[in-house]
Symmetry: C2
Subunit: 248 residues, 2 copies
């Protein structure tokens, strides 16, 4: 951690804060306190100005000072990493200017900041020069497991997380070799994943969830009820053994 | 979910609540509210009457009613599952008596209730007969990643969690085939794990943490500084690639 000094006065800290998967009451006490007390917050928005993280943190933001400053980082909807990297560069520059002025910046992230989170890319651009801190958040995986009331792992079970965008071969290996498998960002790959679940004989073990803890939450435990159309980005499959030898 | 009726009046609900890995401020708002408002709480203690979960939830418990009832489930320190199952049976019976009387029971768990958590064993004994609910908690994995300020996963990286008690072969496979590997409950297996990290050329990628967020927290990023003596139960290794192709 750096404690850089600028113009004789201490610089601010960048604090990445997880706001959890959707339910505003799944913010931690620490996240709530940091967001409501922050002079400056920052978050990613889409190109229509909407931010999931800001929406989830709305109750903390209602308690924040009226002059709280918001640094919005507009992320273009594109698979082109050049555009994403440009947005991160510009966002990091805006944050850095605040830190140099001596103010902290609290960066809001859906879920946990360092678990498939965009905060990692901001942190990488800031951490060599300024003091940083991270406050863990509830992941969509833990919220999904709570909603299903199915243990994610027990005793000697192995557990793995893959991304729905990975190759068929990699997803199939995970399904064959691990007891519990979570497939994140499953929306676009839904049809492909359903076929892989059948091919590996894990179809009966799987549930599908999207927008967990939000108003449009959807939980499907019988995959025959799930259409083959593409689902949203915030969706996942949880695959747990139905027969669990250690579970007595 | 069941909505069983007993003697003409509704029965209570069992609510499993994660209190996070150690920092009392990492309770969620929901956990804090449920614990402070509960007429009856329950938790595991060791045979000296100590409960990690109760200790972590101490600030919520200070706000609880003075006549809040505590159901303690004493867990013997033993690898004999018969003794553990007997403790779960007795605990579930005591909880069931409260639920039948119409009161809710809030069960406190370290970390997340369904991620390597003891709550799974209580839930299995209750869920067919009574309404149950689970509130996710911050896991030690996410807290460890926050403490290290190292992303757990990025984009296409794969992530797996294994238990330090698993076979050398299984741990070695995880280290060879996954980008990020978390080895939980690493204490007793520390020497064995250090050898496996060297054998798989992942020694430089690994950090070791114990009692994250508690007063006796220990974080070791240079494993040469880690002795070969056994560590505590609440300890883990996090192994992340130092060279991350997607991380720009």
């Amino acid at each position: 951690m750096k404690t850089a000094i600028s113009n004789g006065s201490a610089t601010g800290r960048l604090i990445g804060v997880g706001v959890g998967p959707g339910d505003p009451e799944l913010l931690t006490l620490k996240a709530f306190r940091l967001i409501k007390d922050a002079a400056v917050i920052s978050y990613i928005t889409n190109d229509r100005g909407l931010s999931q993280a800001k929406q989830i943190a709305r109750e903390a933001l209602q308690c924040a000072p009226k002059n709280q400053r918001h640094i919005e980082i507009v992320m273009p909807m594109s698979t082109d990493r050049t555009l994403a990297n440009r947005a991160y560069d510009q966002g990091a520059q805006a944050i850095q200017a605040i830190l140099e002025s001596g103010n902290d910046v609290v960066f809001l992230c859906e879920g946990d900041p360092l678990f498939f989170g965009s905060f990692a890319y901001i942190l990488a651009r800031i951490k060599e020069k300024f003091t940083c801190q991270v406050v863990a958040g509830i992941t969509s995986i833990n919220a999904a497991s709570a909603a299903l009331m199915d243990p994610l792992t027990l005793q000697q079970e192995t557990f793995t997380v893959v991304n729905g965008r990975q190759s068929d071969q990699l997803i199939e290996q995970a399904l064959r070799h691990h007891d519990t498998v979570v497939i994140m960002k499953a929306g676009q790959a839904r049809t492909r994943i359903l076929a892989l679940l059948k091919a590996t004989n894990r179809y009966q073990d799987a549930s599908y969830l999207e927008y967990i803890g939000r108003e449009n939450e959807r939980i499907v435990t019988d995959l025959d009820q799930l259409g083959i159309e593409a689902g949203p980005y915030f969706s996942l499959f949880i695959v747990c053994r139905h027969q669990r030898p250690f579970f007595t």
